[in-house]
Homo-oligomer: 214 residues x 2
């Protein structure tokens, strides 16, 4: 551990970890939602706090020194939008085409609220940044966000949503992508972004298989 | 509560709830981090999952029907960035000036990771959307995001960060704001946005004290 890169996992190990931590993290997501919405008695809340603190201590008896991807060769299970082990992530399950297209259907509940009952404008930006990055990666042009512009057409209600993104054009290490968030009635937020593969990533890519930027 | 608006709380009630749910939610934040980083034995992880599922069920025995602000007159405790009861929120504690300026110092850990060891580009957008909105609200010009442009100057490492924002100019119901995210070495991400007070909010504002858009 101690921040060291570990050996690459076998496909079997990855599948085993996914089947363990996928359902575990889903329960933590439920807990995040219930923490916002519960109305049980104060004494019960305080009692549960003590139980949770004990659970945290048990989980921390052996843990990574730092963030997940640093310790796992870029595996994106810690990612804020798609991370299998990140309870902040809805998570998005993203479909891709090698033509540079990505799309996803997902649900956003109480934890993603900005104005009453509506998706936080910054959450729409968070999701679309990921989606545009996924499209560039799918098209073989991975990069980090250099600029991103969001245009909010109308309010997005919390609930079932869809996002899609595609590569608009590329020029060397630069890739321009567009995308949008939509509900049952159509597009609510549009995005366009420029993605650039940074020098450190290009050097790393030359030395080993490309890391995931998800 | 079936989605009903409740009666306004007294300052004393709000303070009591904050002292109960603030520390509770902090423990849930710790749990989110530990869920990403733990390396304890599989059997122990599975056992804790069962305990957490039982805790969620207890919290859900009495709960709000929907998102938090819908049921609490716009109180922003469910907000994704600043919500006292939202474990997704770091949360940001934001300082304000009525001249239309807002700033905050905060820490982003493993749960906010995009590329290995770095803040997710969309998380920077999420934080800055909130900060620009706070600046417009502080200046008496609350609104919802109409457009937002992020320029990423360089990668932002996970850790201690600062964000600030200010009103650039206003024109009727439109307010333009700017801001940035910075680390110890200076600015990493810049933002500019247009905020507009929607009609439904103007009508509501005419009928009762203004809701919080945080």
């Amino acid at each position: 551990m101690a921040g060291d890169q570990r050996e690459p996992s076998t496909a079997e190990q990855v599948a085993r970890e996914a089947s363990l931590y996928g359902p575990f993290t889903d329960v933590v997501r439920e807990l995040v939602d219930a923490t916002i919405r519960t109305e049980i008695d104060d004494a019960e809340v305080a009692g549960i706090q003590t139980e949770l603190a004990s659970i945290v201590a048990r989980l921390r008896t052996r843990q990574l020194d730092g963030p997940y991807a640093v310790n796992n060769r870029g595996r994106h299970w810690g990612n804020t939008v798609v991370g299998l082990r990140n309870a902040i992530a809805p998570p998005l399950h993203i479909e891709r085409e090698s033509t540079g297209r990505a799309w996803s259907s997902f649900h956003l509940g109480a934890a993603y609220e900005g104005p009453p009952g509506l998706v936080h404008g910054g959450v729409s930006a968070l999701v679309l940044d990921q989606m545009l990055g996924e499209a560039t990666g799918a098209g073989g042009k991975p990069g980090m966000t250099a600029s991103l512009t969001l245009t909010y057409r109308r309010a997005t209600a919390l609930g079932d949503l869809r996002a899609e993104a595609w590569i608009e054009r590329t020029e060397g290490i630069k890739t321009w992508a567009r995308g949008h968030l939509s509900d049952a009635d159509g597009v609510t937020v549009e995005a366009e972004g420029l993605f650039i593969l940074p020098r450190w990533a290009r050097e790393k890519a030359a030395a080993q298989p490309p890391p995931s930027f998800e």
